[in-house]
Every structure is written in structure tokens, then in C-alpha cells.
Assembly symmetry: C2
Homo-oligomer: 224 residues x 2
């Protein structure tokens, strides 16, 4: 489903160079539940962004569903992302001037889904993540955990084939965190590929496979 | 040290009313290590903001060091905050166009600390939270956990008498999280009042007292 070959990501700042990823080779099968762990700054978010086509590698190749994404221009990449990938950002990246409802609805508008179906899907997601009475609030009128749940709902709106979640329970209490994990497990059982970055061993325990990053490299792997 | 009497915070949105806090009475002694827990949306951040003089209650009274803060104008409140309180925000609230170094240095500039001493203190904090090689990075060039550590370092820069930390380990791996907790415990042993909001039972275990919020009310308390 997702194939990374010798992927490197280098940030240049003046004379300094940061190797956020350093020669990462990784295959993720369709329907797999992959967990990524590692110290702060080890490259997890960078890896997730590249897998999610939100960023291009400095070196190496990325294949999504067999397609070499370096052959796609930015517009084609955006279309692939919108139709195939649901991304939950570590810092949510919600649009501050839209409501919770509007933020979740946006990917459906881009996908050309008709209004009646959009409303049905958004309402279902608001209910699932206990956000019904916060639908009209904008991000600044939501708690940290409520914003995180809106970000998760938004990632699921287009019924993506691949879900990439960057520390999706970091701001959630145990109960809300369980709901998120149960949802990811359920989607994975329906055949959706799920990749989760986490620091939480509870969350990590749902993975078929756990890979460990350190200084931009994969340094270990555990298979259930 | 901090006294809240029947504190209520109501947000009005058109016809709707959200009671983020509902009649909270709470005393925090000098030198106490208080932990605040509760479900997502229960009012923890709101409570912390009011205790940290970043927000005023809709009803009720707030006393910091015996001083009724409703008698202070905004400029006086800002001065009290800067000299006495260190606040770690749930979403960091770093200035995006300043470096890690600059963000940590800012409260010291407001406090009128001379340049040589500012540089010494910032360097010490960068080292303590393993950010030395990220000093020149701006928030957008930092990982989530690195941003969180910059936010923590900034809160400690002015050697405050009260530290309020809103889910300070949410984006940190176990090792970095331990460092943060050890620092808070050490400061608390030196007499500093520390109040931490957390969902993590590991973090909660350092508290002298844990209070539980639900729907804007204190519903339980545990004393070690
Ligand atoms: N500006 C606002 N306008 C309207 N409602 C608000 C506003 N800010 C916060 N709220 C609501 O107040 C309630 C308490 O928010 P708060 O941020 O204190 O929760 P919290 O306990 O910190 O949650 P979390 O664990 O998710 O961070 C939430 O239900 C939130 O939707
Ligand atoms: N735009 C950038 N310019 C320079 N360095 C960057 C940039 N973005 C990220 N970095 C660096 O790349 C490294 C990897 O960052 P990344 O966000 O992938 O880490 P992470 O594993 O997700 O960390 P965390 O657990 O703290 O979220 C970090 O050391 C970070 O400072
Ligand atoms: Mg990250
Ligand atoms: Mg909060």
C-alpha cells in the first residue's frame, strides 16, 4: 500500500543541516495497523507527513498504491491525498474561522460530495466523538481535547483507505482516548490501513507491528 | 497562595450558554503540588487560566498571595503574572517568528533582566530540556515535543513562585516526560507552588493532592 525506499529528509538552515529522516526503507501492507514510536525529535511526524503526501523527500522514492508520487504534480498529489488519505495532525491544524462542523465538512466539499450526504456524515462523526453540542463552536471555543477529536473526525470524513494519526490521544483523558482507539481498530478491521504515531504504550498495543525511530532512522521493529 | 471563591466562567454564544466553570471554590497553599484531572471539556484549562490571571471569572473572587485580582487593572495584572507566575499552555502558544532562544528569553526582557543574565538563564534552560542544538529554530522548525519543551522552559525563565502547567507531557516520549516531571518536583521541593493539569496517571502520582473536575465543578479530591 505504502512503500518508502531510502527516504531522506534534510532541512538546511544556513550552514547547518538537520537530517530529519535518514535512509528510511519501509513497506506498509494494505490493511495493516502500524505503530511508530521514538523519542521526541526522532522524525516521526516527518515520516508521517511524507507517507501522507504532505511533504516530499529530499532523496528516495515514495509509492502509494503502486504509484510513484514523484511523478505527480502538486494538484494531482492533492487529489490523491483528498481521496485516499485521512491525516490527523499532531497540532490539529484546524481552520480557526470555521466551526467544528465546517472543519469536518471541508474535505467532503473538496471531494464533491452532495450537501445532504455531507450533513449526514458530519452529524454521524460529531455523535461518534461526543461533539454534537460543540458543532457550532470554532476551535478557539473548544478545549484541547475537543479540537483533537474534531481533527480526528475530519480525517475520517472522506472514508479514506489510509489513516495517518500523529499522536491522536495526546490531549485526551482515558475514556475519550479509548473511544479514538476503538474507532481506529474498527476501521482497521474493515480493511483500512492505519498508521499511528504514539508515545502511549496503551495505544501502541493495538499495532500489528511497531517500528522504532531514532535520529531519523528505523532502529527496531516488533511484530505481534 | 491562590484562593478561588465560588468562581464561575460562562461563555455566551448567541442564545446558548456554556458553563465552563460552575461555582468552584479552591484553596492552594504555598509550596503545594496540586494535580487537576477530569474528562476532556470539563474546565481544567479554564480553571488554570483563571488561577494564572490570564482570564477573569464571570462570577466569584480570585486571590493571589492575598491580593484580590478584581482590584487590579489589566496592566497591573500583567505585571503580577510576569513576576510571579509561569504558565505552560496546552497548545504552547509560542511566538512563531521568534526562535526557541527568543521565545524563552521574552519574559526575561519584560522583567527587565540585564542581557548577560538573560543569556545565562536561557542557555541553562535549553541545556536542561535538551534543546541546545535547536536554539535557533523557530517553532515551525521544531517537533511537537520540542515546542512543548520550549514552552516549559519559557514558563520557568523568570523563576516564578507559581507554576501552572496544562498537560505538559502530552507530546513527550517517556524519557522527556520524566525529565519534565523531575524538574517540576525539584522546583516544588524548593518551595514553588506547582499546579499541573494532566490525563497521565504517572504525572498525577507526584501530586500532594489531586482534584477531579466534571462539567465545570470539583467532584472529588484525593490527598496523599
Ligand atoms: N471561548 C469559548 N466559548 C465557548 N465555549 C468555550 C470557550 N472556551 C472553552 N469553551 C468550552 O468550555 C469547556 C471547558 O473548556 P476547557 O478548555 O477548560 O476544558 P479542558 O478540561 O481543558 O478540556 P481538555 O482536557 O480537552 O483540554 C469546554 O466544553 C469548551 O467547549
Ligand atoms: N522545518 C524544519 N527545519 C529544520 N528542522 C526541522 C524542521 N522541521 C522539523 N525539524 C527537525 O526535524 C526533527 C524531526 O522532527 P519531527 O517533527 O519529525 O519529530 P517527532 O519525532 O515527530 O518529534 P515529537 O515526538 O516531539 O513530535 C526534529 O529534530 C526537528 O527539530
Ligand atoms: Mg511529532
Ligand atoms: Mg485543556
Amino acid at each position: 500500500m505504502i512503500k518508502l525506499e531510502e527516504v531522506t529528509k534534510v532541512y538546511r538552515m544556513g550552514m547547518e543541516e538537520v537530517r530529519a529522516l535518514d535512509g528510511v526503507t519501509l513497506w506498509v501492507d494494505e490493511g495493516e495497523m502500524l505503530v511508530i514510536m521514538g523519542p521526541s525529535g526522532s522524525g516521526k511526524s516527518t515520516l508521517l507527513h511524507i507517507m501522507g503526501c504532505l511533504d516530499r523527500p529530499t532523496e528516495g522514492k515514495v509509492f502509494i498504491d503502486g504509484e510513484d508520487i514523484s511523478r505527480l504534480n502538486d494538484a494531482q498529489l492533492a487529489r490523491l491525498r483528498n481521496s485516499t488519505i485521512g491525516f490527523v495532525f499532531q497540532q490539529f491544524n484546524l481552520l480557526p474561522r470555521m466551526t467544528a462542523f465546517g472543519n469536518i465538512e471541508l474535505p467532503l466539499i473538496y471531494a464533491g460530495i452532495p450537501r445532504k450526504e455531507r450533513i449526514r456524515r458530519v452529524k454521524t462523526l460529531l455523535k461518534r466523538f461526543e461533539l454534537e453540542d460543540r458543532a457550532r463552536h470554532r476551535p478557539g471555543q473548544l478545549s484541547g481535547g475537543q479540537q483533537q477529536r474534531v481533527a480526528i473526525a475530519r480525517a475520517l470524513a472522506n472514508e479514506p483507505k489510509i489513516i495517518l494519526a500523529d499522536e491522536p490521544t495526546g490531549n485526551l483523558d482515558t475514556a475519550s482516548g479509548k473511544t479514538v482507539i476503538e474507532n481506529l481498530v474498527k476501521l482497521n478491521k474493515e480493511g483500512i490501513t492505519v498508521i499511528v504515531v504514539t508515545h502511549d504504550p496503551e495505544v501502541a498495543s493495538i499495532g500489528h507491528r511497531i517500528i522504532y525511530l531514532r535520529d531519523g532512522k528505523i532502529v527496531g521493529e516488533e511484530v505481534k
